[in-house]
Amino acid sequence: MTKDFEPTIVAFLCKWCSSAGSDLAGVSRMKYPPNVIPITVMCSGSVSPLYIFNAFQKGADGVLVSGCHPGDCHYIKGNFYARRRIALVKELLDFIGLESERFKMSWVSAAEGTKYTEIIKDFVKELKPLGPQKKLRRDQ
């Protein structure tokens, strides 16, 4: 694939942990590639499979869902439902042949700015060789 390819990643970050973690990365002036566009949601449990499919359909090259670590959910257990739901979405997307690298889930706490930075760096690195995601994308 072309070296110049810059993937677009849509990241659904829960407000209390992962979005705060990404804020911390900013406050700490850590650097990661600008390929990720965050969408802050209240809880990872609120991320519907439809959002994920839709992001891919609209041309996202990668999608990240990130929430609080198990047991730390601001809403007690939302991330547990997310974990199950996302696992199913992942199984399904894998099964139809979407590269598994394109869809990720992570636990990022408010203290894990570094982890968030690493996740994005690695995500971009993994997506680059795959090239643009055309499988689910609408023809433009």
């Binding site: 499979p49 359909q57 974990r83 199984e91 997307l93 992570s106």
Partner: protein
């Protein structure tokens, strides 16, 4: 063995007593080789009921239909509906009860055990006949199908043409019923997920090529959704053209209906539709195989659902339709749910 006469007798009895408003069952098909759904209202018509391996349909969809019809009626007949179900179909009833769409009392269940067999796959029979036109098909005892073509009669053992889902079925007798016909036989299934094995073992590229070719065929007739007993929503989120509107629905609500997918039968929209359908059936699909059977363009839709059935079983120890008192797959979790895919 399921005695057809007993089934007919029981159906006749409950109709006579007025216990049910009608009985949904199978009768001999007219042209196609499989049985056809029949709605029996009068006790004297119960002799039309049959039971053999051509009874492929999942009749539970008609329970859904009746329930929806009732909700529109001012004075609905609230008596239960009598229904003939196989093992898989009975699990559909369980899911409907689990999801409070129906009450246990809404149905009078005439459960049939598939015993050693199951039902046939029309496509497999067609393959056996190498494209020859079927003139007549009959089910003979000892589990054979007698198929007549222009070249004469041919005997096909049912076992050779059983539907894949039956070969993979873990519970081939009803899990919920009012009357059971036939034996609660045990059957060991060696490979409950055999049909997805091949696809699973392929590379992502191969898998994609396969699904691309399959889903490009979709003409969005929505037969898969229409025949599915779990697709009982008034409005399907996956489809921008339908909308449940009442007098209370505001113009804004109508205007803001989200078009998750367009109605164009383009590949991306077809995939969108089938992905949404599959994920919405996770933990709900009881593998009656009706979506795949109904599909006019032969998309192996069952595989998508089977994949998630397997995931539910292997990752979350969840089997669909066995217990209507348990919360659904996606409305429950366990602390030890796997998370090795999460960073």
């Amino acid at each position: 063995m399921v005695e057809m006469e007993q089934l007919q007798k029981e159906a006749k009895e409950i109709l006579k007593q007025g216990k049910v408003k009608f009985v949904i069952g199978y009768s001999k098909g007219s042209q196609n080789l499989t049985a056809t759904p029949v709605f029996i209202k009068k006790p004297e018509h119960t002799s039309r009921l049959i039971w053999d391996p051509t009874c492929v349909q999942n009749l539970v969809k008609f329970i859904v239909d009746d329930k929806q019809k009732q909700s529109r009626e001012k004075k609905p007949d609230e008596r239960p509906v009598g229904i003939v179900v196989k093992g898989c179909d009975s699990r559909a009833i369980n899911v409907l009860i689990q999801e409070k769409f129906i009450d246990r009392d809404d149905v009078y269940i005439l459960g049939l055990s598939c015993e050693e067999l199951g039902v046939v796959d029309e496509k497999k029979i067609a393959q056996k006949l190498e494209g020859k036109k079927i003139e007549k098909i009959e089910f003979a005892k000892k589990n054979n199908l007698i198929v007549s073509t222009k070249d004469g009669e041919k005997k096909i053992p049912v076992k050779d043409v059983l539907a894949d889902r039956c070969l993979e079925c873990k519970a081939h007798f009803p899990v919920i019923y009012d009357q059971l016909f036939g034996e609660e036989t045990e059957r060991e299934v060696k490979e409950p997920y055999k049909s997805i094995k091949k696809t699973e073992s392929q590379s992502p590229k191969k898998r994609w090529d396969f699904w691309k070719e399959q889903l490009e065929k979709c003409i969005r007739c929505y037969a898969c959704r229409s025949i599915c007993p779990m697709c009982y929503c008034d409005e399907c989120v996956a489809d921008s053209i339908n909308m449940a509107v009442t007098a209370e629905t505001t113009a804004e609500e109508k205007a803001q209906k989200i078009k998750w997918i367009e109605r164009s039968p383009a590949l991306s929209e077809n995939i969108g539709y089938h992905l949404i359908r599959a994920i919405h059936l996770a933990g709900r699909c009881i593998d009656c195989g009706e979506c795949e059977r109904a599909c006019p363009v032969d998309i192996p839709l069952r595989l998508l659902n089977k994949k998630l059935e397997k995931a539910a079983h292997e990752l979350f120890d969840y089997d669909v339709g066995f217990d209507h008192k348990k919360p659904s797959l996606i409305s429950s979790f366990k602390d030890e749910d796997p998370e090795d895919f999460i960073r």
